[in-house]
């Protein structure tokens, strides 16, 4: 019996234990702020701003307060609806556009596909601050300021390069013979993509969609510049709970907790699709 087939023994075991400890410590370190935010959301303002204490009387008062609607101010429901529209439509558009692009860059690569791939990502090099003035002017001239449409367009453009890059790498892993088999079986381009390729890259699609959802959901800068009055999204609503008078930490925490819920939900749904090895059994 060699060491690698039996249980881990001796020094290996100690190293494994230390590595495990380290990864747990890091994971908790990353999670702690989130945990603290959720905890604070259930406190009274006075407790949230006091020295940290382990025991307190939990309350949902802050959640009630942040979701209550006030005439003339941006409400939770409105912000949530705007965000949901912008995120859902932009993510669907991104996937619809990225799938053919990824196909053209991996399975049947266009000439100079490496350059094309680079051009796609190059838009991400530009700091968005540098582009905001022309974007604002264009949006104003097209009468798009304070509309959901402007965010849909910009979020699609913002996430598309990322989605193309991700999907390209997933598409590249589709066994070539499967596509050839589909061709020989008489499937046209659409049949090859919908019947053969997409079911295999479904985990990749889920991962890509999840990232697009997260980035679009949390986007603040464009939203606050272009839609300060109408069509405002959840991140703007979260900041509306920051007040210049009095304590607001518990309220802000409650609002932030609500803002993260859809993303957590999307992550949970996507993860279920991601862990399944869909390509198994295709070859050999």
């Amino acid at each position: 019996m060699s060491a690698d087939t039996g249980p881990v023994v001796g020094q290996n075991r100690r190293v494994n234990f230390l590595l495990g400890l380290l990864s747990w410590a890091l994971a908790l370190l990353f999670f702690f702020p989130v945990f603290w935010m959720v905890l604070n959301g259930f406190k009274e303002e006075i407790d949230a701003n006091a020295d940290p204490q382990l025991f307190f009387d939990p309350t949902i008062g802050q959640f009630d307060e942040v979701t209550s609607e006030t005439q003339g101010l941006l409400g939770f429901r409105e912000a949530f609806t705007n965000s949901a529209w912008a995120v859902a439509v932009s993510t669907i558009l991104v996937l619809i556009l990225a799938v053919p692009a990824a196909y053209a860059l991996s399975i049947r690569p266009v000439a100079k596909w490496r350059d094309v791939l680079f051009f796609f990502i190059s838009t991400k090099f530009l700091p968005i601050v540098a582009a905001i003035l022309p974007l604002w002017i264009i949006a104003r001239d097209l009468d798009l300021l304070n509309t959901r449409l402007v965010l849909i367009i910009l979020y699609t453009a913002m996430n598309l390069p990322l989605a193309v890059w991700m999907l390209r790498s997933f598409f590249s892993e589709v066994p070539r013979e499967l596509i050839e088999a589909a061709q020989i079986d008489g499937a046209g381009l659409r049949g090859q993509i919908t019947s053969v390729i997409l079911p295999i890259v479904a985990p990749g699609l889920a991962a890509t969609a999840l990232l697009c959802v997260i980035f679009a959901w949390n986007e603040f800068f464009l939203a606050v510049q272009l839609n300060p009055v109408e069509g405002s999204t959840v991140p703007i609503w979260v900041t509306s709970n920051v007040s210049t008078r009095g304590n607001f930490l518990a309220k802000l925490s409650a609002a932030s907790t609500l803002a993260t819920l859809p993303v957590v939900l999307a992550g949970w749904v996507a993860q279920k699709r991601m862990i399944r090895g869909l390509a198994m059994g295709a070859i050999k």
Partner: protein, 360 residues
């Protein structure tokens, strides 16, 4: 009903100078099982993929059923292909895998189901129709790949090393089943393998390729008995033919060690006439035997296979030690280190300096 024809078909991969397949001329009759065989890099798979439409034909043409398909996409060639790694659609059940091509053709659902069931019956796949490929064994996956091909009733079957992922025993069994199936269905089949035993046992005719160039296409028997060149002689047959470099003697004859090589009269005459005096003599292990007076040598290895044995005998030939493999029937009494004498008992082959066969 379809015959297949390659006419001076070449494939030159972009960025390379030497063609992967070089001016291939090949006629495959309707219902024939033709095997393309050769070592890796010989262009056999490329030739098959050119017929499938998966590889561009740079020069020349390919015909199926008399129709030029050189520029047709795979979808329009009415062919079915079995891939080396099977290439089953992982998200579909066995039944859906087998029915996929029919679905693309727009065959009605009931007919599709009936044809899939019939193919599954032929291949003993009926209990597995609702399974996904990942829940099948290697042999079952291979049969699904076969089923996907036969359910279509295509004009031509293309098979790219379909047995190479099976274990040795299953491979031999499947080989027979496959040859039987092909004979029953009578569909023209092009079969690629690197395994010369597979080629010899399955092919009606066998085409041997090397470096993209067709060496010989003939029946297994003819390939075995009259290889056109040194390469085919060495490639076909297991264990391989003994190939020994021989210088012509002053008398104009060829001798292996101290023993003159018996040759056909036409070959004997040709050997005398040639200006170059260097030849390669080929003789199969089964055409050598142990005799009382012959080429003297010492046995270095004994391979016992039960019904036969192969003796590796080191003989002195033109001043160097050369190894000859000799077949001995049944259980041999010879052991390593024994001194034996080797003689001829069957046909010999002579090749010139270019490797071409003498005497046609």
């Amino acid at each position: 009903m379809a015959e297949v024809r390659y006419e001076a078909a070449s494939r030159i991969y972009p960025g390379t100078e030497i063609p992967a397949v070089d001016r291939l001329d090949l006629d495959i009759a309707d219902g024939e099982l033709l095997v393309l065989v050769g070592p890796s890099g010989s262009g056999k798979s490329t030739a098959l993929r050119m017929l499938a439409g998966l590889e561009f034909v740079d020069k020349g043409s390919v015909y199926i059923d008399g129709k030029d398909v050189t520029l047709s996409p795979p979808q329009h060639r009415d062919i079915a292909m079995v891939f080396q790694n099977y290439a089953l659609y992982p998200s579909m059940t066995v039944a859906a895998n087998m029915g996929f091509a029919l679905k693309q053709q727009g065959v009605p659902k009931e007919e599709r189901a009936a044809r899939v069931r019939e193919a599954a019956r032929i291949l003993d796949l009926e209990p597995y129709l609702d399974r996904k490929p990942k829940n099948l064994s290697g042999g079952q996956r291979q049969r699904v790949a076969m089923g996907r091909a036969i359910v279509r009733e295509p004009r031509v079957f293309l098979m790219d090393e379909p047995l190479s992922n099976l274990d040795a025993k299953l491979r031999v069994q499947t080989r027979t089943e496959l040859a039987d199936l092909q004979a029953r269905l009578g569909v023209t089949t092009v079969y690629v393998t690197h395994d010369q035993v597979e080629a010899m046992t399955m092919g009606h005719r066998v085409a041997v390729l090397k470096d993209g160039i067709l060496q010989q296409v003939a029946s297994p028997r003819e390939l075995y008995s009259r290889p056109v060149n040194r390469f085919v002689a060495g490639f076909i047959g297991s264990p391989a033919m003994n190939l020994v470099e021989v210088d012509r003697s002053a008398a104009g004859t060829l001798a292996l060690g101290s023993v003159e090589v018996p040759t056909e009269p036409a070959v004997t005459a040709d050997v005398r006439q040639r200006s170059a005096g260097r030849f390669t003599v080929g003789v199969r292990p089964e055409h050598l035997q142990l005799v009382d007076s012959g080429i003297a040598g010492e046995v270095s290895v004994v391979e016992e296979l039960g019904s036969e044995s192969f003796l590796h005998v080191d003989v002195d030939h033109q001043g160097t030690t050369t190894q000859l493999v000799v077949r001995d029937e049944g259980e041999t009494r010879i052991a390593r280190g024994d001194r034996v004498r080797v003689g001829f008992r069957g046909p010999t082959h002579v090749f010139d300096a270019d490797g071409d066969r003498l005497g046609g």
